[in-house]
């Protein structure tokens, strides 16, 4: 299975029926493809959409209806438009059930860094600081390492996005959960040996002798 699709499918399992969910750019965006539409999940975007649906067919797009990346989207029945202050009111006010975001680094404490690489690239935090601070649940969805460099580290060396501990980290190799006592390895990807995960991870992972495999139905 494509690593990105594996991650998206595993994250999709975390989504509760009728919840309000914000998906970041990149892998997180793929998550909506693996949800049953009957679950009544509403997707929010920072730019002021509540109830986003897929990109409409060519010829049916409208420049007034886009996601936070500026891509054309549609609205599901019952969708609504809000302004930017209202949008971040939902986010910071604790009305957003879940945000799924990418990361540059995550560390043993569950701290996230995803908005600048000093001296190299400074995209800016956009809505990420508010999302991580305000959402009820934060899931990091990302590839386990970048160009051979560990992204799950002892302590973030890049500027933090928030003091808040993220709730779950999902990669193509593993599912990890930061807790008070450190970072727990709770699932392995199908057919990935424990040793491979430990080798690919700079952070210290807490784990039992038998780490279960992800259950990706279908």
């Amino acid at each position: 299975m494509d690593p990105k699709i594996l991650i998206a499918r595993r994250v999709a399992q975390e989504i509760e029926p009728r919840s309000l969910v914000n998906l970041g750019i990149g892998i997180p965006t793929l998550v909506s493809d693996y949800l049953d539409e009957g679950m009544g999940v509403f997707f929010q975007a920072e730019n002021g959409a509540v109830g986003m649906g897929h990109r409409p067919p060519e010829g049916m797009t409208d420049r007034h209806l886009t996601d936070a990346g500026g891509r054309f989207v549609s609205f599901v029945p019952g969708a609504s438009t809000i302004d930017s202050a209202f949008s971040f009111g939902l986010i910071r006010g604790g009305h957003l059930d879940l945000t799924v975001l990418g990361a540059l680094q995550v560390d043993e404490k569950g701290h996230l860094a995803n908005w600048m690489i000093p001296g190299h690239y400074t995209p800016g935090m956009g809505g990420a600081m508010d999302l991580v601070t305000g959402a009820k649940k934060v899931i990091i969805a990302m590839q386990h390492s970048a160009k051979g460099k560990a992204k799950i580290v002892r302590e973030c060396t890049l500027p933090l996005t928030s003091q808040r501990r993220v709730d779950l980290i999902v990669t193509e190799l593993a599912v990890m959960k930061p807790e008070d006592d450190g970072l727990h390895l709770i699932e392995r990807a199908p057919n990935v040996p424990l040793e491979v995960i430990l080798e690919m991870t700079e952070a210290k992972l807490i784990h039992g002798s038998d780490v279960p495999e992800m259950q990706l139905d279908c």
């Binding site: 309000l20 109830g51 029945p77 019952g78 609504s80 809000i82 939902l90």
Partner: protein
């Protein structure tokens, strides 16, 4: 999707002693059905957050007539004789809040801010006991967020996602209280099928609304 509940079910959710935000302005934009039902049910020791107390029999009036309210947080209570009598006798504890501060404190709770910094009330009785924060040489009152166990609101239209549309000056505190109640209960004038309220007309997205009262079948 939000299931519509009956007014009796709504009343059953609200225990004695609850803190309740009630929308409306001088009796306009108030969920009158649930107000009367709470009064009839004889709820006790409520803390009521409402812009005003309207008149004896309008807006939140019935709640005072039925002695449901122990503490009132509002901006104006001058035209309700029952409230004035209960305040004078000491039955009713009152916190008066300037109207712009009241709505902004409610909004702050709803949008996750730590409070507001307002020039309103500086140098007056309202400032007593409150922190003053200086910003660039100007003084502002730090007023704290105001939340509630329940927000009871009214709307013109509602769909089964809980999306709300309001009408004219019946809008007032409704969209703000919808942000701030831990449980938000709406009594709309009509419930329409999902999709009937255009996205740009929705003033309160249904994700904020917990229960919708259906008054008829």
């Amino acid at each position: 999707m939000h299931l519509a509940i009956s007014i009796d079910e709504a009343v059953g959710l609200i225990p004695d002693g609850a803190t309740v935000m009630l929308s409306g302005f001088m009796g306009v934009g108030v969920p009158d059905g649930i107000v009367h039902a709470l009064a009839d049910a004889g709820k006790k020791n409520l803390t009521l957050i409402s812009n005003d107390t309207a008149r004896d029999t309008t807006g939140p009036g019935p709640l005072f007539a039925a002695h449901c309210v122990r503490k009132l947080i509002c901006s104006h209570m001058g035209l309700n004789t029952i409230v004035q009598a209960q305040f004078a006798s000491g039955e009713l504890e009152v916190e008066l809040v300037p109207q712009g501060t009241l709505v902004e404190r409610i909004r702050a709770a709803g949008v996750g801010l730590g409070g507001i910094l307002t020039p309103t009330g500086v140098g007056t009785k309202v400032a007593e006991g409150k922190e003053i924060v200086e910003v660039d040489g100007k003084s502002f009152l730090l007023e704290k967020p105001l939340t509630a166990d329940f927000a009871l609101i009214a709307a013109r239209s509602c769909d089964y996602v809980g999306n709300l549309a309001y009408m004219l000056t019946a809008t007032n505190f409704n969209p703000i209280m919808a942000l701030a109640g831990k449980t938000v209960i709406c009594e709309p004038e009509e419930i329409v099928p999902v999709g009937m309220i255009p996205p740009d007309l929705v003033k309160t997205p249904g994700v904020l609304v917990d229960h919708v009262i259906k008054t008829s079948a």
